[in-house]
Symmetry: C2
Subunit: 352 residues, 2 copies
């Protein structure tokens, strides 16, 4: 097993590594010329639906940036398609759902499926990536958490971001909400398990929009479903990263829900967040994605600030606080990988 | 002075009142039939630019709901117009700025003006509302905080919400950022002072999108400008409410920046937020706006939960955690006003 592979997995298990591992949410995407070249020939859904193309895109940042993990290239909404949800991508607007769920009748119209039914093409991507990586770095599988999938499914995309439609359904018709979340939890857990069986070395549960909730609402309407997913997946023996944004007041509950590693956004200083969730789990984060537009000295200052808050403690995985932005300069992303490795290499730490 | 008037102002000063005062952000707006009737005849900018219409809209919720304060009806971007910023409203998209500021040259092209130049029509609205209220309830003036104005001014509207463009400018060209914030702070402070001189009994500084920042970035790039505004306005002797969303990790710094009352969104439980900012300032909030879609028993449970966290302590102003949503049922908004008054009336508290 290569050094870089053990680096990421060691950190997930709070074991010392030769340097702090680093990868980026949305490390494959529009900011990379390799990706734009492929997008000039194929739509986003074509890439996702074609295992050879999805695998190529997954590998692009591993080759170009030297990150310590690959993350499967797939859209967060794909597992909804076998349920009869019609997902479309409109340029500049992100995902749209043509038949959003706003009522019990809408929910009842969803197909009952095992998650992996109809998602074989994603599992094939996982197998192709694993084979191509040949142990260079581990592969992270992922899924949206039930709440975050519900924000799209209820909101219909576009304005889904503020999750207001989902919260309206939640407070106005709790029965439908709980039934929907139970179905989503089942689909998500099965989808993640299938990725692990296909070869994913770790998984990340993205609860990207969970920060729209108060702690009381999270506990009552979301926690049971995230916990069910996280328990089921953790039982498979791979590390599980549990991530959300805007989670400052939710972190103790997210930790309780589960995860080997908790992912932070930049709003919570890393040392504060790590203390809050407990230093017996790993921590991932948390450079602000906008920092990647800074001039070199300022970028380095910001990388050093995150590392200083991590304090060299085993269990830190360097990442952004959310996904890479489309216009980000590739050179700056690459520079962050180099900086993290240089500044945390075992020799550097010994000399510090 | 009417009871309702003293109720709000007493709470701002941490003095006991006959009941907890209640008003709502965006209490005048699309959810009200009176407002929609006016909008069928006039554009948003026409209403804002015509003192008689703006005053009528400001008064609508006072008459219809029985709230304990009026808040000036005006768009947050109007003070930018005299600087040469072209503001437009596109249906369903919110405000758009046709000439966003992305560089030092863009910033230098802004006109240097005293804020109240060209804003006389808003001050006339203030005078008309004051006269029409005749002391029934106090009038709250308001302005966007420098950072939140910058998110629109740099982002151009639309995608301004996530403040990413503003943060890019901030990290990429700190010199331009600081110069822009200094100009905005000057405009905002002067605009608020003019509203107080025209008769506003209190003011609220809306830093609605400040939750996009880490505490370190807030301290360095925003705090000095918010503090300058808050100091200048506080010196005029009226209560100042300092509000933002997503502020869980920023609250100590926001308190330090200033404000007689700190406004919370729903993500921070009210008791936790009040302890964090200190019980020597007032607290405003923090029902989730989506709660207004709940059936009656659930709505009452949620109102009681906010009041329980306030603990009957003088200094609580009941409000939402952000603005009323467009499709909110008016009856539910009215019910919250009644509930807050019933549940906190002096007799109710004595019997509790």
């Amino acid at each position: 097993m290569a050094a870089a592979e053990s680096r990421f997995l060691h950190a997930c298990r709070l074991r010392p590594a030769d340097a702090t591992p680093v990868w980026f949410m949305r490390q494959a995407g529009r900011y990379m010329p390799e990706y734009r070249a492929m997008r000039s020939r194929h739509s986003l859904l074509e890439i996702c639906h074609t295992p050879e193309l999805a695998a190529q895109v997954t590998l692009q940042p591993v080759d170009a940036l030297g990150v310590d993990a690959a993350i499967l290239f797939a859209d967060i909404l794909l597992p909804l398609e076998p349920m009869g949800v019609e997902v479309a991508f409109v340029s500049g607007e992100g995902p749209l759902i043509r038949n959003p769920v706003r009522s019990r009748a809408d929910m009842a119209a969803l197909h009952t499926v095992e998650a992996r039914d109809g998602l074989g093409y994603i599992l094939e991507s996982v197998r192709l990536v694993r084979a191509a990586l040949a142990g260079r770095v581990p592969l992270i599988g992922f899924a949206g958490a039930p709440f975050t999938l519900a924000t799209y499914l209820v909101g219909g995309g576009g304005a889904a971001r503020d999750a207001m439609q989902a919260k309206r359904l939640m407070v106005a018709d709790a029965g439908t909400w709980h039934a929907l979340m139970e179905r989503l939890a089942h689909v998500v857990a099965d989808y993640l398990a299938a990725q692990v069986e296909a070869g994913a070395d770790a998984v990340q549960l993205f609860d990207s929009w969970v920060g729209a909730l108060s702690p009381d609402d999270y506990r009552q309407y979301v926690f049971p479903y995230s916990r069910a997913v996280l328990r089921e997946v953790s039982a498979l023996g791979v590390p599980v990263i549990h991530f959300g944004t805007g989670t400052a007041t939710l972190l103790p509950l997210m930790r309780e829900a589960g995860g080997t590693v908790i992912g932070l956004d930049w709003r919570t200083p890393l040392d504060v967040g790590w203390r809050t969730v407990g230093t017996d789990v790993g921590i991932q984060g948390n450079l602000d994605p906008s920092a990647l537009f800074a001039p070199a000295p300022e970028l380095e200052r910001r990388v050093r600030a995150v590392l200083a808050r991590a304090g060299g403690r085993p269990g830190h995985i360097f990442n952004l606080g959310h996904g890479i932005l489309p216009e980000t300069p590739v050179a700056n992303v690459k520079r962050v990988v180099e900086l993290v490795h240089e500044l945390t290499a075992a020799t550097a730490l010994r000399e510090a």
